[in-house]
Amino acid sequence: MLAGLAAMVCIAGAVATPMLALVAIAPAMPDLSADYLGFVWSITRFTVLQAGLSTLLSVMAAVPLARALARQASFPGRQAILRLLTLPLALPALVVVLGIVEVWGRQGWVSTMLQQTGLTGPLNIYGLSGILIAHVFFNMALAARLLVAALEQIPPENWRLAAQLSFSSRHVFRHIEWPVIRSALPGIASLVFMLCIASFAVVLVLGGGPRATTLEVAIYQSLRFDFDPPRAVLLAALQLSLCAGLFALGGRMATDIAVMASVGKPARRPDQATAKLTDTLVIAAGLTFMAMPMLAIVLSGITAPFDVIVTQAVFWRALVTSLALALAAASLCLVMAWSLLAAQRTIMRRRIPSRAASALMSSMQAAGSLILVVPPVVIGAGWFVVLHRTGLANSAAPVVVAVVNALMALPFALRILRPAVVGQAQVHDRLCASLGLTGMQRWRLIDLPVLARSLTLAFAFAAALSIGDLGAAALFGSADFVTLPLLLLQKMGSYRSLEAAGIALLLAGFCLGLIWLAEKLKPEAAAQ
């Protein structure tokens, strides 16, 4: 209980300190020339526009894909496809961007194909179109996965009723699927919108100029290139109020982020056979769109000059830094998640929670997903300004990045751990009490075996997110502080694309390998 309070205070502190400090040291008003205000207005508009379009396209693509996947329960390779849809969550954004450039860029696969058939000239991926492709890659997958999960919640009796009442697939959509989709969509759409509004790596690489910059990237640029903290503060405040406003407006965001959840055997459906052809086409299209960039990362990565890369001292420094950060961030994330959940469990154990207890409960739940409202770059920017004032920016950089990474992974870790900690433990509480099992003995015999798998998965996921993160690290990057994604960004910026491809493959390998290893762990008998 105390640990939970402490975790909540730490989270609030990590987020609020830089905010308050910013206000306190808020320097003389930033330069508010008409030119600058015009710039701020145009990037704010672009931030909202790209997020809105990304959300619209992602959701519009996700609905048919999710319907097809939910309907074709015995589609060959269905499980593998559903797993493929969860991969983007763990893949570093920068790596995906590289893959998307390989496929959709000026010299990419699609351009080459179009030119050979003489249809059109090369595609230009930089600007809005590229940002949209990347965001749809990430979020169509996420939305489709969440929708499939929602559709699979439909009780099997509904399908039997549909069969008995001779529903056509139009009737199935109207009476069964649409009500489920409609109730899931607002949550999914607001989650996607928030993720797109806070998107950093994608816009940093694929955007550019005032015409295609978002607030996040502008914050980074005003700190790193112009070193103009007042402007950064203004932009951060704008970004924050945008996110908070939308959060208040949207309310019920799907914070229930489905992570690698296993899928039960879906029911036999009466509309399977008739929709087979269109479903196959939809799934094939979705699969192609998702698989191409991933394939491109592998294909260009395996031919990379690894012999050159391994001779560079900076590569090894980046590797060690990234691994150490991942370890620290993942450990911190687990400690925070565990403390929050254990405290929630204690509160729930009381039969009738007092008003204060339920308020505490909801603030703890809010603390867990705070990072979705306050983007990592904004927190990072706050700390950057504070630490620069005190001259600690370089020495404290790794700590701040690790903390921000841990906060980023927290919603996912909570999602993975909650059923195991809160659900399973509730089942065991009475039995343990009657057997007199308490303390370490209970933890060792009962809790740990049940939790081991979820803990490992949450740790792996947090580590993967941290290894792939660019937002927080980019602000603090320096000659002394280089992570793998930062190195990748440098290589891309200096047109060493072969080396970049190698590092990208390595990064992707790390992240997916971690998840794969964690999932390989023998599911313990206790999980039933």
């Binding site: 069969a163 009442l165 009476h175 069964i176 009466p270």
Partner: protein, 237 residues
């Protein structure tokens, strides 16, 4: 519409990795049979095969002598009421019943009169605009029965629909089904785990054990018999 007779001829079915079921029996037109037996003996599987929700590996199934083993669920002369989830949670009582008349909800004036009649018969008058979550468990099952009434199929299959209700309420529901059975003379098969329910409402009783129909007789003959393998053990008599 009066009942159809149902005949199962060497109907075989197995769940992946499970022991095979092997059903041979018949249900007379207009009979009301209670199906009892230990859990896992195949009661639900048997009525799922009749309704067309499971596909038999081999064997034949006849309604009034017409082979229907390959027919789609909607083509069979059958309505089934499940234990749970008989209703679409977001649709009100009236609409849930109306789906039994038309999947696209194109209703004529006669249809509406008929639905109102079914609601009255099942004690749901005035509940038309309620959502399933605003109903008690017994009322929800009444909606499912009202839908079965407007569908008016010759066969009514009931898969323990009253198992979650208390004894008095269960009796009320059985009485309702019994009344409908007498009026419409449909063939009714009720899966139950309580022999007393079967004695109370049914005309026939069948005993399933290990995937086979061990006996299917009129209620009086069934419960006084001593030659049905496994029945004494199951009943604990």
């Amino acid at each position: 519409m009066s009942g159809a007779d149902i005949r199962l001829d060497e109907l075989q079915f197995a769940y992946p990795g499970g022991e095979p079921f092997h059903f041979s029996t018949s249900f007379d037109a207009g009979s009301f049979t209670g199906l009892i037996g230990p859990s896992g003996s195949g009661k639900t599987t048997l009525i799922n095969l009749i309704a067309g929700f499971e596909e038999p590996a081999s064997g034949n199934l006849y309604f009034d002598g017409v082979d229907a083993a390959e027919a789609e669920p909607a083509e069979r002369p059958v309505t089934m009421v499940f234990q749970d989830n008989n209703l679409f949670a977001h649709l009100d009582v009236f609409t849930n019943i109306a789906l039994g008349v038309s999947a696209s909800l194109d209703l004529s004036g006669d249809d509406r009169t008929e639905i109102a009649g079914a609601m009255e018969k099942t004690g749901l008058s005035g509940f038309g605009h309620r959502l399933p979550r605003e109903l008690s468990g017994g009322q929800r099952q009444r909606v499912a029965i009202a839908r079965a009434l407007v569908r008016d199929r010759p066969v009514l299959l009931l898969d323990e629909p009253f198992a979650a209700l208390g004894p008095a309420l269960r009796r009320d529901m059985l009485r309702l089904v019994s009344t409908i059975h007498k009026e419409r003379r449909m063939t009714v098969i009720l899966v139950s785990h309580d022999p007393a329910d079967v004695k109370f409402a049914a005309t026939h009783a069948a005993f399933l054990d290990a995937g086979r129909v061990m006996a299917n007789r009129p209620v009086d003959a069934f419960f006084s018999a001593s030659d049905i393998p496994g029945l004494q053990g199951y009943l604990g008599t």
